[in-house]
Symmetry: D2
Subunit: 480 residues, 4 copies
C-alpha cells in the first residue's frame, strides 16, 4: 500500500501564489473579507495559507496573524477569524517552487522593522534572490525562511532608513530586486501594492463601500462583492491610505511593448471569470479554441474538453467549427485532493478514480478532445485510451497552448526539460506517444492575438526571456 | 460569526445511501476495491462511511470493520485498508433521513447471530420499520441503533432458525419488510444482493477476474475496472458463492408494470456515467433537456446548466433547439463541503462564494438556464439574480423534472411540504418568486419516455404511491 | 523507529472498568457530574469512556450518549457536555479483557427494548457469557458487540416481558448470569445498581443535595462533593427513584463468608482515598506494609516505594520498622501514557524515560524497596539495577501481595501463566532474576486481616475460585 | 460551561525554558536523543517544543527542524524523528514570559547568515532586548518573532563578520546582551554552549560514547544514559567539535561572589534528581525542610508535602523533627494538564478534581503541611480547608522559600505585585487568609546555606537585583 497522494495533477503546470489585501477606511474588521478573498484565489496555491491583520485604531504596529499548511477552508475557524481583529489585512495562498514546502515558509511574512511592522505577501519569483541574500548576509542579516519575500522585506527595511515613506522604500527596493513579483504590503497605516515592471503576475484594485482591495484576480473582488477599479500597472506602486485614497508611483514603469505577462495565467492558471489587465480569461480561452479550429481543423462528430481546464477552449472550437460541443467525462469531485493511490498491480489507476468516460456520449463518435497543455503526457495518454475504450472511433487532440520546452524563472513550476513530452520529440512523435489520431497545438504567433495584443512572456516556448535568467538553476528547493 | 456550515446544498434533494460488495473467489484482499468503489459512490452519501471484510480462508465469522463519520477519502488510511484483510467485503456511504446522524448509525451493520456473522449494507427506507421494531421488542429484542438495517438483520437472524441457508432467510425476511431496499449482505461464505420488488433503488452486478461485485451504480464497477454483468432485478435475491457462482431467487418478483424506480436517480442522484436497469443516466438527462426544448421552447442566445447537475439537460436542450450551449458560471471547487458561512450583514453570500457568473459569456444575452429541480427555490432566486447582474438581458428557467409537492417514504430526503416552493403556488407564481422571465418544468408524462419506458415512482409529484404510506411521518429522526 | 507505545505498564495487572450513575430528583443536568465522576475513576480504565443521559422530564426513552476512545479529559468538550442534557445519567471508563478494544465496544451500552430505553454500564466479567450468547442466538438474537453487557442487556429485556418492573427484570437476569458484575443501569425513570452475590467488584452509593449517585469507588463521590451513604451489598439490587428513594432487593444475597471481593482492589486498583465495603484502601496498604515489616524484616537504612503504587505500603513498613521512609525515584509525569519507545539498540529504556533514581537519596544506603506486585518482573529487574547504579549498597524487595500464579476470570487482566515470574520459580529464584539481595511477599493468610476480616477471592494466588471457572479460556479477545 | 482550562497551576511560578544540544562525533543520528532529552526537561516548559538537526557529513548548512505547540510526547511521531536526520542537534521546550505564546515564537530559532546556518535555543530573559532591537532596526534589521533569541542571533551574525570563529562571535555578542541566558547553539560543524556571567540559569555538559551533550539539567543526561562531566561556568563559552573536543573561553567570567543563580531552580523548577553547579536539588530541598524544622518548630503528629513539589522539604522536616512523614493527598494523575473547568455554581472545584485528602491519614491529627512557595495563595487556602474537612485537628503551614514580593527580570514568570499574597501583608495576615493555625517561611539567610554556599539571586525576595532592571516592565507579551 503506497502512501496517500496529496494532490496535484502531476501533468499540470503549477502557479506559485495568490495575494490579497484590504483596508477598510470605515474601520470595519476585514479578516472575513480576506478569508473569502483567499477562498476565491485558492486555485493559485493549495499548500499553505495565511492571514495577517492590523488595527489602525489600536497600538501602532500590532499585527495578528495565522498561517497554516493546507486549504483555506480547512485552516480557519470562525473563532480564529473572530480573533484576527483589524481594519487592514493581507492574505496569501501558496504553492511553492522557490522555498521548500514548510510551515516556516508560509506567508504573509510579518516583521518588525525600524518603522513598526510590515505584513507582506508575494506572488512571483526573483531571479537575483541568491545574490541579494549573500549581499545582505555580508552586512549581518539573518534569514529565517527560504522565501524571496524575506529578501524583499530586508530591502524595504533598509531603504526605509533613507526614505520618508514606506512606499518610497518599496520603490527603491524595486531597483534592486529582479524578476517576477506582485506584492501586497501592509504597513501600520497604509496598504501598498506593487507589480514588477514586466507585469509577469497579475494584480488588481477593487473597492467595496469604504474599503479598498488588492487581489491577484478579479474573481476575488466578485466573491466579496467589491467593484473592479483597475489593474495595478506593470512597474507601478500604489499606496492606499485614508488621507489620500489611491496614490500611484509609475516611475518604475517601462514601455508597453516590453511587458511580459505570463500567458499561462490566461491559458490555465487564472479562473475564467477573472479579467487580467482588462482581458477576459474566459474570452482568451474561447479564442484559443477558435484559433485551433481555424488553424488545425479536422472532421469530427463531437468536441469535448478535458475537465475542467479544457472546457472553455472546447466551447470555442465548437463555436468556430460548428461541430457539437459535448461532455465526455465525469469527474469525481470528492477525490480532488487526496486519496489512497492505487497499487501498481491493481487495475484501478489514479486517473480512473478521478475521471470516467461517458460511453453513451462518445461511443461510435469521432471526438476532438481539447486540453490546455501537455506537460509530461502521462495523463493525456490515459485519457485518450479511456475515450477509445468508451467506443470513440477517432480521438483528435488539440492543445490550447504551444508546446513548451524551457524552464520558467518567473513563478511557474515547470518540470525538468527531460520530463517534458515535447523535449526532443516532433509533434508527430508526441501524437504517437499519447495514442491520438491527430494532434495540434496553438501556434505561438496566436498568443498576442489571444490576449488582445498585450505583451506576453514566451520564455517557456522559445527559451528567450525578457530578463537574462540566472546561470544556475534557482528554481528547486533552496532549503536551509 | 456563525458556525462552520457543513453542507449540503439545502436547495437539493438528498439521496440516502450507496452500497457496495465484492467477493474474490481467488482469495485476494478486497478492502481497497471496496474503498475505490465507495469513492465512486460518494455522491450518494457524505455523512458516514464504512467497510467490513471477512476472510473466507480464516476463522469462520471473523469480521473486521471500520466506520467513520465523513468522506471516504478522509476516513481511510493505507494502514487501515492494510489491516482490513479479507476476500469478501461490503461497504456503505450514508446520508440519512431515517435514523439520526451519529457514528452508531454508520453502516455496514456487523453482527453475530446463530450462524456466525453478517455484514449488512442497506440503501432505502422501510415504511413498516416502527411496527416491526415493536413486534421484535415484544419477543425480547434490543435495538442499539435507529437504522432500518437493524430491523432487517433481526428478521434474517430469526428466519435463519427455520431455513437452511442465509439466502432463504433473506427471502423470508423480504416477506415482512415493506418499502425501499437495496441490500448487500456478507455471510461467512457468501455475498448476497437483494432488491425490493418495486425496484425503488438501483443495484447492479459486475465481475473483475475472479471477483464478483455488487454496487448501487455501474460507475463503481468502472472505477475498479469491473465488467457490468446485469442489474439485480426488482424483487430478486442473488447469492454469490464459489461453489455456484451467481444463483438467483426471483420468487419475490412482481410484474414489470408495478415497478416503481425512483425517477430522481435518473434526474439527479446517480452519476451520469452510470446505467440503471439498462438505461443510461446521461441519456435520460439529455432526453429531459430535449423534451423541455420541444415542450417549452423560447427564443434565446444561450443555453446554460446550473453546475453540475443541470449541464446534461442543458446540452440536450441545445441539441434539440439549436441554441448554442455555453458556460455561464464558474464554480469554486475548493469550497464544496465546508467553509465559514458569511454573516447576514456581510455582502458575500454562500452562493456567491461557491459560484460566480461569467460576465463575458452572458452579457447582453438572452439565457436559458437549466436545473434538475427546484426544492425551496432559495438558490434559484440568487442564481437568476447573478445572471442578471452579469448582464443577461433575459433569463428563462427550465427544470428537468416535474414540480414536486409530496413527501417521499422510499429513501429520498424531501423537506416538509410547507418549505417546497411548489407548495400552494402556480408555475407563474414560482417564476415570479425566483425572478425569471419564464419558467417551465418537465411534463410528468415525459418521465417514462425519458427512461425508455421503465416503471417509475411518481409519488413525490402526484401523492400517489406504489405502497400505502404510513399514517404518521416516519421520515425524521427516530432518536433513541 | 518503533511505533508509539500507547501506555500501560506491561508489568502491572489491569482492572477492567469503572462505572458511575447519578439521578438528580431536582431535575438538574447531570452530564458534568458524570464527567467529573469519570475523571475520578479514570485509573480503572483508560481505553475508552462514555456518558449517556436521559431527561425524565422529556420524551420517554430519549437517551443521548457519547462514547470515545481515549481518556475522559481528552474525549469530552464543554460543547459536548452542554448537549448531553438530562437529569439521569450513567458513565463508564474501560480497559478491556473480554471484548476487543474497539469503539463499538465502548460503554455505556444504550438500547431500545420493549419498555423504552436502557443505559447500562458494567464492571466485571461473566464466566458463562459464551453459553448465554449461544442460547440467545438460538432464539434469534443478534449481537453487535463483544462485551458481556450486551448479554446482560438481552436477559433484562427478555425478563422484562414477564415482570412488572425493570428492577425485577434485573433480579431475574441475575439468576442467569454468572461471574463478576457491578452494574449501573438507567431506565427512563429509574437508576438501578446491582452487584454480583460474591461482591467481586465494588459499588457504592452517595448523595449530593437531591441527587443520588452510584460509583465504583468513593473517590468519585468526593470529587463531585457527594456524601457517602453506603456500599451496595454483594447480591443486592438497589433502585433509585423520586417516588421511593432507594429501594433494596437483597433476595440474591448470600452469606458473608462466601463473599469474594477482589483483593487487588485494595492492593493496587482502587485509589487510596477510596473506601470499599467500609474498609479504607489506604489503610489496607499501610497494614500490608506493616505485615511485611513484621513477617520479613531486614536491616536497612531507607524504605522506599516504587512510585506511585508502592508508596503507601512503604510508609507502613517504615512506621512498623522505624527505618526512615524516603523517596528514591523521580517520575516523569509528562510521559505517563504515550511516548516513542526507544529502539532496542539505544541506551535509553522506557523505564529510564519514566523513572530516574535519586542518587543523593540512596547512595551508600541499604534500601528496602516496596512494590504492590510483581507480574512479569521486567520492570522490577530494571528498577533494582537502577538503584544499584545510583549507589545503593543493598536492595531488599518487599511485595505487598502474595505471588500469583493463576488466571483471573472475574475482571482482572492477568497475563498467561508462562509469562508470570512466579510461575515455576521459587522465591529465591525470583529474587535472583530481579537481582535483589532479598525478596519477600505478603503472606496469603494476612489478606483478610489486611481488609478488616472481609471475605476476599484468592483465586489468582491459589487457583481455587469461588465459582467453577469455564473449561476454555474466555478471557482473551472474543472478536467478531 | 466555561472553556477548557489548559493547565498551569495559577498558584505556581513558571520557568521559561529548557535547552538541549548534542553532537555525535561518530556520526550517529541524534534526533531521538534530543527527543528523550526534551522529555526529561518537559517540566521546564509545556507550551511549545522544537528540534533542529544538521548533518555534518551532508551539504553544509542544511538544517532540518520541527517546532510544535504542545508537549514533546504529543508533538513528535516516529516518522518525524526518522526524517530529522543529523549528527548534531539542538532542542527546546518553552513556557514564555517574554514573547507571546505563538507558533512563530517556538524555538530553536533556525537561521541562515553569512557563514551558513545556526540553530539556537535560549533559556532566560534579556533586560536590554528592546534597546538592542531598536539599535538593530536602525541599521536595517527585520524581526520576525518576539523572542530574545532573535536579538542574540543578530548580534552573533553581525559579530561574525569581524571574527574568525562562531564562538568568538558568540563571545563578542555576550558583551552586548545583558540579562539571563543559557544558550545552546549549533553551527554547521560545532556545538556551542554559553551561560551569562551571573549564572542565572543552569547548563551542564555530558558525554555518551562519542557524543557530547549540553542540557539545562543533569536529569536529561541521565535519561539518555550520558555521563555528567561538569557544568558550564557562569560566563563561560564552551565549543564542542571533533577536532578539539571541548574548548573553553572563560574571558567573560566574573568572580564567584557576584554569581546570582536563580534560587527557585533549587526550590521548585528543577527536577530533584538534577544537580546544578554541583549541588543536588533534592538535597537542597531536604535541607530547606530541615531548616524550617529548626527555625519554625511546632508540635504535631504528621508532616506532609503538598504534592508533588512539597514532598522533599516535608521529608527533610520529618527527618529533623522526628515527626512522622505521611501522605495526606491523592493526586489525580490523569487530569494534570487539561480538563473542563467546573462552573462556579457547581460544588466541584478544580482543586478538588485534581486533589483529594486522605481522611484515613489525617483524621484527628495535627498536621504540618509543607509547600515550596505561596504565590497568590488561592490553592493553599483550599488545601488547608480540605485537610480540615478530612478531620485534621490543626494545620500548620511551612513554606520552603522566603516570601516574595518583587518582579523577576531574569526568566521567571512572577505575577503582578498586587496579586501576590505577600504584598502588603504580614505573615500573620497571610496565615489568616489561608486559614492555617500557624505559618512560617524559610528565612532568606538560609538560602546560601541551602545551596552549599553558592551565590544566588534574591531579587524577588528583596527587590535588589544583580543587574539594574529596566525602568519599564518588559516582562509581559511583546506582541508584534
Amino acid at each position: 500500500m503506497e502512501n496517500i497522494s496529496v494532490m496535484g495533477d502531476p501533468d499540470k503546470l503549477r502557479e506559485e501564489c495568490g495575494v490579497f489585501g484590504i483596508y477598510d477606511f470605515a474601520g470595519g474588521d476585514v479578516s472575513s473579507a480576506v478569508y473569502y478573498g483567499l477562498l476565491a484565489l485558492q486555485h493559485r496555491g493549495q499548500e499553505s495559507c495565511g492571514i495577517a491583520v492590523s488595527d489602525t485604531k489600536g497600538p501602532k504596529g500590532k499585527v495578528l496573524s495565522a498561517k497554516e499548511m493546507g486549504l483555506v477552508n480547512e485552516s480557519f475557524t470562525p473563532e480564529m477569524l473572530e480573533k484576527l481583529k483589524g481594519d487592514i489585512g493581507v492574505g496569501h495562498v501558496r504553492y511553492s517552487t522557490a522555498g521548500s514546502s514548510t510551515r516556516e515558509n508560509a506567508q504573509p511574512l510579518v516583521l518588525n522593522y525600524v518603522k513598526g511592522t510590515l505584513g507582506l505577501a508575494h506572488n512571483g519569483n526573483l531571479i537575483n534572490a541568491p545574490e541579494l541574500r549573500h549581499e545582505l548576509e555580508y552586512t549581518g542579516a539573518i534569514f529565517q525562511t527560504t522565501i524571496d519575500s524575506e529578501v524583499i522585506a530586508y530591502h524595504i527595511a533598509r531603504e526605509r532608513l533613507n526614505t520618508n515613506t514606506v512606499e518610497a522604500a518599496v520603490g527603491r527596493a524595486m531597483q534592486k530586486i529582479k524578476g517576477a513579483y506582485s506584492l501586497v504590503i501592509m504597513s501600520p497605516r497604509k496598504l501598498i501594492g506593487a507589480r514588477d515592471p514586466f507585469g509577469f503576475r497579475p494584480l488588481c484594485i477593487g473597492k467595496r463601500e469604504d474599503a479598498y482591495v488588492l487581489a491577484s484576480e478579479t474573481c476575488a473582488l466578485d466573491t466579496i462583492g467589491a467593484q473592479y477599479i483597475r489593474d495595478v500597472l506593470p512597474g507601478e506602486v500604489v499606496t492606499i491610505s485614508p488621507e489620500k485614497g489611491i496614490e500611484s508611483d509609475t516611475s518604475h514603469c517601462i514601455s508597453d511593448k516590453e511587458h511580459s505577462r505570463c500567458v499561462f495565467e490566461y491559458i490555465y492558471f487564472a479562473r475564467p471569470d477573472s479579467y487580467i489587465d482588462g482581458v477576459s480569461v474566459y474570452n482568451s480561452r474561447i479564442l484559443a479554441g477558435k484559433f485551433l479550429a481555424m488553424d488545425s481543423p479536422v472532421e469530427a462528430d463531437l468536441v469535448v474538453g478535458v475537465p475542467e481546464s479544457g472546457n472553455c477552449a472546447a466551447l470555442g472550437y465548437s463555436l468556430q467549427s460548428g461541430i457539437p460541443y459535448g461532455q465526455a467525462f465525469v469527474k469525481n469531485s470528492y477525490v480532488g485532493r487526496t486519496f489512497i493511490k492505487p497499487k501498481q498491480k491493481n487495475r484501478e489507476t489514479s486517473v480512473q478514480v478521478k475521471l470516467n468516460a461517458l460511453k453513451e456520449a462518445v461511443s461510435g463518435k469521432r471526438v476532438i478532445m481539447i486540453d490546455d497543455s501537455i506537460v509530461r503526457g502521462t495523463t493525456s495518454d490515459r485519457i485518450v485510451r479511456m475515450l477509445r475504450e468508451a467506443g470513440a472511433k477517432e480521438v483528435h487532440m488539440r492543445v490550447s497552448s504551444p508546446p513548451f520546452l524551457w524552464p520558467c524563472y518567473f513563478g511557474t513550476d515547470v518540470p525538468a526539460r527531460e520530463q517534458l513530452i515535447a523535449y526532443n520529440r516532433s509533434i508527430e512523435e508526441i501524437c504517437e506517444v499519447i495514442g491520438a489520431d491527430s494532434l495540434a497545438y496553438l501556434k505561438e504567433e496566436r498568443l498576442e492575438e489571444m490576449v488582445n495584443g498585450l505583451g506576453v512572456c514566451k520564455g517557456c516556448f522559445s527559451g528567450t526571456y525578457p530578463l537574462v535568467p540566472p546561470t544556475e538553476d534557482i528554481r528547486g528547493d533552496y532549503d536551509m
